[in-house]
Symmetry: C2
Subunit: 288 residues, 2 copies
């Protein structure tokens, strides 16, 4: 967690670039050759090229990069190899990585996931699902602490998708409060924040403000900005008293910015979109 806070300070940016590679939206120049050859085995290489292109173009404007594991798993074992390569390249370039895996298992299985994503693949932070309780989160924090790379966890607390309301607000107290208390209980202070962060969407401002009350010292990873419809102003209720504590993810609005301008190079379009998002977030005063 500390590594991301430091990176955000150095870059003057709270933006997280989300890598959710979707072949159907890739620029045509990247896809031409595998389409022609009809060889599916070429696709992992295309995804690698696309991700590394986005990384290089957007790195100046981003505090961190988040990899959506699902998109890589869809390409099979080779896709997981690309996922591993992209994490390594991002870390080498000084961009801390968040493995967006949302794993939620226990005991030896949770430890194996932590070992896989934080140690073997080398991500700095990881997203975790709290449904199985503390047993599902603690092994990831243990692994992050053991590695001493300034890493940590982002536990799902209040997510931004429509159906999360019917689930996470169906009880008293609501589940997001139970999850927030779990995040608080497990955290250890490291710098100005704890290593136990939370995923809190920008689409439910009252909920976000309540979670901030419960977690004054946690870093929030906020999805829902950009393509999911939340503007920069929607981030405000999540900020801590100093205007910090939030990193904001944008995936599709950056990755596929070239769709709005068919002649543009996808990397240039992504860089412009990332710069614009960084600036919008600066304007509302978000920063560490």
């Amino acid at each position: 967690m500390e590594a991301i806070v430091e990176s955000a300070r150095r870059k003057g940016s709270v933006l997280v670039v989300g890598l959710d590679p979707d072949l159907s939206r890739f620029p045509t120049e990247l896809l031409r050759s595998p389409r022609e050859s009809g060889e599916e085995s070429v696709l992992p290489g295309v995804v690698r090229e696309f991700c590394l292109g986005i990384l290089e173009a957007t790195a100046p404007f981003a505090a961190a990069v988040k990899l959506q594991s699902a998109c890589f798993e869809l390409l099979g074992a080779e896709g997981v190899g690309v996922y591993s390569d992209v994490i390594r390249e991002a870390e080498r370039a000084g961009l801390p990585t968040i493995a967006d895996v949302k794993r939620g298992d226990i005991d030896a299985s949770a430890s194996a996931y932590a070992g896989a994503h934080l140690s073997r693949f080398g991500a700095r932070c990881v997203t975790v699902n709290p449904y199985m309780g503390a047993d599902a989160v603690k092994p990831f924090l243990d692994e992050a602490r053991r590695l001493e790379r300034g890493g940590g966890t982002f536990t799902l607390v209040a997510t931004s998708n429509p159906s999360s309301v019917a689930f996470q607000e169906a009880t008293a107290p609501p589940m997001y409060e139970v999850a927030a208390r779990l995040v608080a209980d497990l955290g250890q202070k490291s710098g100005d924040y704890t290593d136990s962060g939370a995923v809190v969407g920008v689409t439910r401002p009252a909920v976000g403000a309540r979670v901030r009350e419960l977690l004054p010292e946690a870093v929030f990873l906020a999805p829902g900005f950009g393509a999911q419809g939340g503007g920069a102003a929607a981030v405000r209720p999540l900020l801590d008293r100093r205007g910090g504590g939030v990193i904001v993810n944008s995936s599709r609005a950056i990755l596929y910015a070239h769709e709005g301008d068919p002649g543009a190079d996808y990397r240039e379009a992504a860089a412009s979109a990332a710069k614009r998002s960084r600036d919008e977030l600066r304007e509302i005063g978000a920063g560490f």
Copy 2:
């Protein structure tokens, strides 16, 4: 789901053999060569050999096989390749597979996970985490229905680990009830059961009985039997009115049965343990 019910009927067994390969507990004869050569790249091959040995030995006594994704991911991209191979071999041998991935994401990400595990890797069923609500479960059911292979989902409802109580029973109504209603809402009848199943541990009998009331037509995947301490009798509260509706997972007690008898072949030890578990479950009347 239907494929598993049919298999359970054909085999007269509700046992699910859980493949949670843990190198530190492998029989020494399997590990000798990689230890000698010191080459880590040999390990995925050893895991493949172990899993296929267990599969062949225990298939006569099992309704299905469950692969713990974490154990394979820990070996990196090559480990995911082994995971894929083992699923294919089990299905080829007529054993329906459950990909124990506990994924919980939404929209394109959930669809990508469903595409990866049900379609590309070819598992019949998948375990799913409900924390993000219906959005997190439906894409898996959609994919299973599209494939028409008698597959389905097992959504985490009431898990067997100690800390799940503090989380899943912290609210009113308890989360496991909210999750059970979600499972009920999304299910479609297919044969005698719905394609939307639930993970319900054997370690909380009153909770298990309550979940059965809410889900009279769902198949339960019950962990916690064997190494986690639940005996066959603990399965009873989960059964439906006909004594069916439950498949019971046992992982470590079968995989590492050779530890209790150092001279034994690990496959023979696993076969004996699987047969014993099948028989214990028959004795309490569990069957489809």
